[in-house]
Symmetry: C3
């Protein structure tokens, strides 16, 4: 039978989800999601703390355009322990073009490269303990953001879900520049600043680069909270054995797209040191040194299998705590 429409011409597509849009680009809807199943095994001081098959993330989203100037995204969790909660829930005004958009609602507060990168697209299976400490994650917020030439910027004002009462106002900004971007090489530099919780202020510095199928990424954070001071950094290097290049778009990296139907293979190593939230290796919020190495297999654009091993030691005075984690993930996006 025939498929037609009563209005403007329509384009549709499926890559496991659904995309529909009018040919005049005025209206669209996309439905998609992610499922991440993990087996993880973690030890603290040689004693097993975790040994689980569990759903790491399960989300479904709808997003779309309504008219020329407005768009939305509604993404919600459907996993075991967080089912029904919203992850993204925002409305964007695009009327001024790509250089200046305003987004209102629950959304990521951009402060740091690894934090801004989707969990589908980060190289390691889990973000570093450094990002976990300094990243602001998602907040009910108003955000001005845009892309102007090689510059990507974002400024967020938010109600800080991690702060109490009258001190719950937060302000975060980040600027990323890509001075070099061609087929062989990409250089990314970033700078971020956050004020939140009445007495917390943090600065972040980002460096990342692609040299063909090699890529490096590092971030340093420094935070003052009242009379306390914290800092930490991570540095990561990866190699895509099958020769693909790590994709980059609008101030952040995307996951590797295999160049052949055999899939793509990637190996990486990450070092981190300093005050962080090292809970993946069971150390918690301490000053620690840790390393992670792992391998990713990208079966196609939708399926990724990853395996990581992490090991770290507390640097706190008097502590000899040592933790490690093995993690295996099956990830499917649609």
């Amino acid at each position: 039978g025939e498929v037609t429409t009563d209005g403007a011409d329509i384009k549709i597509k499926t890559k496991g989800g659904l995309e529909i849009k009018t040919a005049d680009d005025k209206y669209s809807m996309k439905i998609g999601g992610r499922v991440q199943w993990d087996y993880n095994y973690a030890e603290l001081n040689g004693e097993a703390d975790e040994d689980d098959l569990n759903i790491r993330r399960a989300r479904i989203y709808a997003k779309g355009d309504v008219g020329e100037d407005w768009s939305y995204k509604a993404q919600f969790n459907i996993g075991n322990s967080n089912g029904g909660t919203p992850e993204d829930l925002y409305i964007t005004y695009n009327g001024w073009g790509k250089a200046a958009k305003v987004t209102v609602g629950k959304q990521r507060v951009v402060f740091g490269l690894e934090d801004f990168t989707s969990s589908n697209d980060i190289t390691a299976l889990e973000r570093s303990g450094i990002t976990e400490q300094y990243g602001v994650a998602r907040q009910d917020s108003i955000r001005l953001h845009g892309q102007v030439g090689m510059v990507n910027y974002s400024v967020s004002a938010y109600e800080d879900g991690a702060a109490a009462g009258d001190d719950d106002f937060g302000l975060s900004g980040r600027i990323a520049v890509v001075p070099v971007q061609d087929d062989d090489m990409l250089i990314h530099l970033g700078l971020g600043y956050t004020e939140r919780g009445g007495d917390r202020s943090a600065t972040g510095i980002e460096f990342a680069a692609n040299f063909g199928s090699f890529h490096v990424q590092s971030e340093f954070f420094d935070e003052d909270q009242g009379t306390e001071s914290r800092d930490g950094y991570y540095a990561q290097a990866g190699w895509i054995i099958t020769g693909e290049t790590r994709p980059y778009k609008d101030g952040k990296f995307k996951r590797v797209k295999p160049g052949s139907s055999d899939g793509a293979w990637e190996v990486f190593v990450r070092l981190e040191e300093g005050d962080g939230n090292h809970s993946d290796i069971e150390l918690g919020r301490v000053d620690a040194s840790a390393y992670t190495f792992g391998v990713n297999y990208y079966a196609n654009n939708n399926v990724r299998i990853g395996m990581n091993y992490s090991d770290g030691d507390s640097n706190e005075a008097g502590s000899t705590d040592s933790g490690e984690e093995f993690r295996l993930r099956l990830q499917l996006t649609f």
Copy 2:
């Protein structure tokens, strides 16, 4: 590439959501939703009680037709505090045509015009404290309803979620008549009756009208509960500055559709007086007098920005409580 179907011809459409139906009208599905972000600031006796950016409503729904005689709607909440709960969840038998449909499941119990009108479509951002007191809202129920000429009727039998134990049976009916409906003028009259909770019975009277781009709406309710008696009313008047007319369909109003790509502007004022649930202006369930005025900007059929200011005083003996609220909303439906 080509898009075809193996069965009956198909029509599809997007206005930010998705509509698909067979050309023979036997089967269909529609996916859509709403996102309402509010900033609200409220004071009780001059002291700030609320000062928040928060998600007022976030919902996604699927609805459709299965065969000639049956249809369904499943709408669920994805907001912060109510994520995962159903809002509408019902099955309708349409086999007798528009004059008599039977709907089983969680659905709105129709009793009152403002209560029946979608939160996307009401003129003020929040329903009056009078409607909040007497409206029955959604209940697990069986409903007989239909449209016969100028008459729209609804009768619901339900398990009253607000009542306890053996007294949880409720029965509500409402009839609406539109004696005049042409391009210049529309007159709506309505009458409702509710028995619930063993000892509660309420009557409601509705009047509403369009005179070109002017519209008025008023409801009066009277309720007896055991030896107690309550009553209250609201009256509202609005003007669509850009000249559009307030749409009306099947016993209730819809939101303004802008006649040009510049959008539509509307101003309104609402007075209310009597026993109500005046919690928006922080007074709670008391006898109060209040007014609201506001402005709506309908950017297109999907996006509305509204701003309201409300002020009211308690009429309870001995009380000098006074409350007010400012509310700003960004609403997107898809």
Copy 3:
């Protein structure tokens, strides 16, 4: 207007939900769900325990194929008391074909015919108290399963949600054979085995058959848990008055599809006896004897109305408990 696609040719369809797939069968998505509204009235020893209109199940799912080798299903609950929780949430590797698939995630552990059959498709409105006792239901699991000629098999390793701490490992397997399958007759034989919770092991035997529009189905289970031992069986016989045959596919039965637009009618009776979870008739986990009879009306492929009456007596020493239930269901799938 025209509907086209930029990539591979596409087929779409609606039967109240949505199906979209590429003509080369590489990518697809399907959105669907179920709504089951029940009125049920139950008595224990002649005293009314339940008298409710309530949502029995409400679910929405997305499932699809991503590339040639991978597929997923994400089904979540949207009912009153379980909204937001996942029901199915899994990823399947299909690269070896129909004979051997591997599925990772939250999914049904196959052990028993009635347990494996969808709640949309079982003959009675509720599964027998025997199945409720011995079935393993859904678990976070890894499953190897497939169809080879007349044989359907499944082996699941899982974290047993019903078991505590270190004893939460479970292993279940089931094999089903269909030695006879033609237009007039179908014979199904099945055998299952489960080890779980450290000290629990169970065996199940299945027999089912179609003789034209008559069908029978029976299962026997025997379980040892530590020093305790349990067993029980049910036997069910049905007749599709309007002459249709009960459909069967891949190791389980599907619900009756009416052969005419007048719908299909079915009557059935079920006997059960032994240690079970007889909570539908208010007896709980005891040794009991019970019978159920009922009638199903399949209005079309999407809508079913069913009515059941069940009555049973405890066989526990010294107990004279007797329970009964009347249940009426309106079910719509899309």
